[in-house]
């Protein structure tokens, strides 16, 4: 690659890097990728249009996974008291067996927790030929006999969709028979174009089959939900600690450290907060339409972002006592954060990062890097949609293609019994004028105006390698599949899907953890040893040096 980072520190023009990347592709591929790679610049008024949530090009080594992974692994993975049965051959169940560092904290040592178990119908060829319904029915019965759970969920894998097992009918039948909630997800891996379809299917079914089942509101004056928080590396534990300290009641988290009962009474909250916009923004909309709960976007990644989010929640409730308490908590927590930040700043300022993660993380983590004086040179989502990049204003313009049309959309209307508008239209407008914006997300690119940067959707291994060669960032953030090819290049790589061995990174304590972790990585000695001393020095002539 001719465009390489200059010794002076000047960075190559992202447009040039883009054209070098595209040069290797067959023409048809290059045309498509050209629309998925855009560049931001300080003078841009509105973000450029990016093509996102479209099919991955066959043969190109994508970072993406599948619908089943999004449904079973991401959304239902962190919920501890539902027996999740994968209906299919053994592989899908095996690979989604706690491989995402889901953490949970049961109330007592005896409380239900099935997260360390993997349940599968382990379909054999005769089940493919003659159908797997009988086996699924028996598996649900056996799970019930062994564990007596309060709910059982069934996840369809690719062949189940093809052979046409009616997982929903069997679930209804078993629900009737066993007297517990049994529901299913048609989350076959081939649906949609990425994990995103799976999030959608998971959320819709939880909304349909669980939310609203229990009208008991937990005690507390300020009740909220946390949507799109998955307790990676214990993030939810830190957020829960902060909310409790502020006197805010967390009714439900979707779905980090969550339980079935939490989902069932989610509708009793008075405010919904959305962390990962991609995975769950539509649930926030549905909760508003059906139950009258407004939603705001929050971000607990980054100390400043955390403080801002807490203040925004307090502002919504318009309660002096709460507003003061939140200020006290922030004042109490910030000194430790500042001290940790001051300690690492001399070693992190001016360093550079790249982030290619999930559906909001490539955005959220830029806050933390900014706090450390680090610049993001390139970023993108693994399964984001245009609104995650460009902001919600583009939602009406997004064309729905065939792959998205296959994902069920549910229509909701106000619940006759349970709908209760939490704020009047006038109140909402006033709050908006005071800076509490509802149903709003500006997207990743709005926050990447500071410097020319490449924003890339559905990055692949070849492009990652080219980016690293061109920019030599000080750190690269992505997932496990990308980790070691980046590290072979001598660049530290931090996983932000599962945090490697670290975390939590949310909230104030999390920010401190992250500062320390990134300091460790960008200043690690190990990568300096990639070349042996004799590889760095010119060849010696064939005589002994002491001669």
């Amino acid at each position: 690659m001719s465009v390489i980072k200059k010794k002076s520190g000047a960075l190559p023009d992202p447009e040039k890097v883009k054209s070098e990347i595209l040069a290797k592709y067959p023409p048809k591929v290059a045309r498509k990728r050209a629309k998925q790679i855009v560049t931001t610049a300080p003078d841009m008024e509105t973000p450029p249009e990016i093509m996102a949530n479209v099919r991955t090009i066959p043969g190109i080594m994508t970072m993406r996974g599948c619908t089943y992974a999004g449904c079973k692994g991401v959304i239902l993975g962190p919920t501890r008291d539902i027996v999740n049965i994968t209906h299919g051959p053994i592989g899908c169940g095996f690979y989604s067996w706690l491989t995402r560092r889901n953490q949970t904290r049961p109330a007592t040592p005896e409380s239900e927790n099935f997260m360390t178990y993997c349940f599968s119908t382990d379909m054999q060829d005769e089940n493919i030929i003659f159908g797997g319904e009988k086996k699924l029915r028996a598996a649900i019965q056996e799970a019930y006999d062994l564990f007596r759970p309060k709910a059982i969920a069934v996840f369809s894998t690719c062949p189940v969709g093809l052979i046409g097992d009616d997982v929903h009918a069997i679930s209804r039948e078993m629900k009737e028979k066993l007297g517990i909630n049994v529901f299913a997800f048609s989350c076959e891996g081939y649906k949609g174009v990425s994990q995103s379809a799976g999030h959608h299917i998971a959320n819709n079914q939880i909304f349909t089959h669980v939310v609203g089942k229990d009208d008991t509101a937990p005690e507390g004056r300020f009740r909220i939900t946390m949507l799109g928080e998955y307790n990676i590396g214990g993030d939810a534990f830190e957020i829960e600690r902060l909310l409790e300290k502020c006197g805010i009641t967390l009714v439900a988290t979707f779905s980090g450290n969550s339980t079935y009962d939490q989902f069932a009474r989610a509708h009793t909250a008075d405010l919904c907060t959305v962390m990962c916009h991609r995975s769950i923004n539509y649930v926030a909309d549905m909760l508003e339409t059906k139950y009258g709960i407004p939603w705001i976007k929050v971000n607990f990644i980054g100390a400043k972002a955390t403080a801002k989010s807490l203040r925004r929640i307090a502002a919504y409730f318009e309660d002096k006592e709460l507003i003061d308490r939140v200020e006290r908590v922030i004042a109490e927590e910030m000194p430790a954060v500042e001290a940790a930040r001051e300690a690492v700043l001399p070693r992190t300022t001016g360093k550079t990062a790249m982030l290619f993660v999930g559906g909001s993380r490539a955005h959220h983590y830029q806050e933390l890097f900014k706090e450390m004086g680090m610049k993001t040179l390139s970023a993108g989502y693994e399964f984001g949609h245009r609104d995650d990049y460009e902001g919600r204003r583009v939602i009406p313009d997004i064309k729905v293609d065939a792959d998205s049309r296959n994902i069920e959309e549910i229509e909701v209307s106000a619940d006759e019994k349970r709908f209760r508008a939490r704020k009047t239209g006038e109140q909402l407008r006033r709050l908006e004028s005071e800076g509490v914006s509802f149903k709003e997300y500006e997207g990743l690119m709005a926050d990447m105006k500071d410097n020319p940067a490449a924003v890339i959707d559905d990055l692949n291994q070849y492009e990652a390698e080219k980016l690293v060669e061109a920019y030599r960032p000080d750190i690269f953030c992505a997932g496990i599949k990308e980790k070691f090819s980046i590290q072979k290049l001598g660049i530290p790589m931090k996983q932000l899907h599962s945090y490697d061995s670290g975390g939590p990174y949310a909230g104030f304590t999390g920010a401190v953890n992250f500062y320390k972790e990134i300091d460790r990585l960008v200043n690690s000695k190990v990568f300096a040893y990639a070349k042996a001393p004799w590889q760095k020095n010119p060849e010696l002539s064939a005589t002994y040096v002491w001669e």
Binding site: K24, Y25, P26, T56, I57, P58, G59, I60, M61, T62, M63, G65, C66, Y68, A69, I85, G88, P89, G91, F94, Y95, W97, E112, N113, T116, Y117, F119, S120, T121, D122, M123, D125, N127, I128, K135, A138, A139, E142, A143, D145, L146, C158, P159, L162, G189, Y190, K191, D403, Y462, G479, K481, F484, S485, I486, Q487, K488, L489, G490, A530, K531
Partner: protein, 460 residues
């Protein structure tokens, strides 16, 4: 408390697998394909399969695992995956330029019935396969067999697509190492080298999935079995297939296709199995066993005799792959240990019979089961009914080990939380010594932890 819901009453299950002791065929095919030099494994199905397999292998090896996928969406599932595979082939050769694309199917493409050889032919006719490049394939529906049989399938494909007989023997011995670690493949080559034997090992993942960090990334390192060596396998004097499950089919195909005689042996794990391996090598190649190999053997026997008192009568639970478990069980029995609960998710009738045979000298019943429902939940229940002193199995055993407070020696696939397996072998005499060291350390660490202070011993 991690597996708090597992109770000792064993209920016969017909439908529900809990904590499986196997995974699906394609991942085995993918692993085997890395043992060919310059090979890109390709997963023909939804992209989730490829993502999961790459993630699992990456977590096990801590290495880049580059593999491509046909990225099926709903349309491909209805109309077939031909268009996806054709464009994948074109893109792979253009962008990554491998020597070989090794295609394996998934449950999706199998259920649709995609015909891979037909699609590969079409790609060649359309000029999408550059000259000198190859596409091979194997069928790996996930609802048949396990990761082990998937591995076997791809090894068989290597013979099917590449092995040729020129009618002239080349004096080389083929060794099919089975599903073992890159470090084990390296050790098998070293032993054959010590014996002065010209050998071709396939597949050979050493140097591919345990590579160095150099500041450069090479998707296709100079390692793995070259296509030319796979072609020449048809002219070898004989084939040693290590492991009935992972290697025998390929060896038998080579025998029928190219008339290369084969012997199927157990994996050379432990003393007796390594003895048989060395002895067979000696006979096949018509050579003598060098002193250096006998020296290593003697060292192993020495360590066993030095530490026998800590091994004698200790009860062990085992979970893993059949070829691995057969050799491991035999090793444990030879140490006078008692392997009493053994499960393998991989099906195969001969497994239970072999284990019964090997454990006969224990003079007591042994719990053994394989195939569907032979899972770690069952193993855990057996352990609740008759406790053991040691568990040997993959990383997932750590839940049981913690709950039951029993030491664990990690062995098998996958190992997600400890280093070593990529770099230090467990095959051969040296490997047996390492395995023995791990077993003894686990047992003695536990003893040091549990002994009352008055009997806490400095000298063991």
């Amino acid at each position: 408390m991690l597996l708090r819901h597992t109770k000792p009453d064993v209920m016969e299950r017909t439908a529900l697998t809990i904590n499986p002791a196997k995974t699906c065929q394609p991942i085995g095919a993918m692993y085997a394909a890395f043992g060919i030099r310059g090979c890109m494994p390709h997963s023909h199905g939804s992209q989730g399969c490829c993502a999961y397999h790459r993630s699992a292998l990456t977590r096990h090896y801590k290495e880049p695992v580059s593999a491509t996928t046909s990225s099926f969406t709903e349309g491909s599932s209805v109309f077939g995956g031909q268009a996806n595979l054709l464009s994948a082939i074109e893109n792979i050769f253009t962008i990554y330029n491998p020597d070989v694309i090794a295609v394996h199917t998934t449950c999706l493409s199998e259920t649709i019935g995609d015909d891979i050889p037909q699609i590969a032919d079409k790609a060649a006719k359309e000029g999408k396969v550059p000259s000198g490049k190859h596409i091979i394939h194997c069928n790996t529906p996930s609802y048949v067999g396990s990761h082990v049989t998937g591995f076997a399938g791809m090894v068989k494909a290597m013979v099917h697509y590449f092995a040729q007989s020129t009618g002239k023997r080349n004096g080389s011995v083929n060794i099919i190492p089975g599903w073992v670690e890159p470090s084990d493949m390296e050790e098998i080559k070293r032993l054959a080298g010590l014996m002065g034997i010209k050998s071709t090992l396939f597949p050979d993942t050493s140097g591919v999935l345990n590579g160095p960090l150099t500041g450069e990334y090479r998707m296709f390192p100079d390692a793995g079995t070259p296509v030319s060596a796979l072609q020449a396998a048809g002219d070898a004097v004989g084939t040693l297939a290590l492991g009935e499950w992972a290697s025998a089919e390929a060896a038998r195909l080579l025998d029928s296709k190219c008339k290369v005689p084969c012997k199927v042996l157990d994996l050379p794990i432990g003393l007796a199995a390594t003895d048989r391996f060395i002895d067979t090598l000696r006979t096949v190649a018509g050579t003598t066993v060098p002193d250096s190999v006998e020296f290593e053997r003697g060292q192993l026997v020495d360590v066993i005799s030095d530490y026998h008192q800590w091994l004698y009568g200790k009860k062990v639970a085992l979970v893993g792959d059949p070829d691995q478990l057969i050799a491991l069980t035999e090793f444990l029995v030879s140490l006078d240990m008692q392997p009493i609960h053994i499960v393998s998710g991989t099906p195969g009738k001969r497994f239970e019979a072999r284990i019964k045979e090997i454990t006969e000298s224990l003079g007591r019943p042994v719990n053994v089961r394989c195939g569907a429902n032979a899972d770690m939940f069952l193993l855990h229940q057996w352990m609740l009914n008759e406790p053991v002193d040691l568990i040997i199995g993959n990383t997932y055993c750590k839940y049981m080990a913690r709950d039951l407070d029993v030491p664990l020696v990690r062995h098998g696939f996958p190992i997600l939380d400890r280093p070593g397996h990529q770099y230090f072998p467990t095959v051969g005499y040296k490997g047996a010594m390492r395995l023995l060291e791990k077993i003894l350390s686990a047992l003695l660490d536990r003893k040091d932890r549990d002994d009352p202070e008055e009997t806490f011993e400095l000298v063991i």
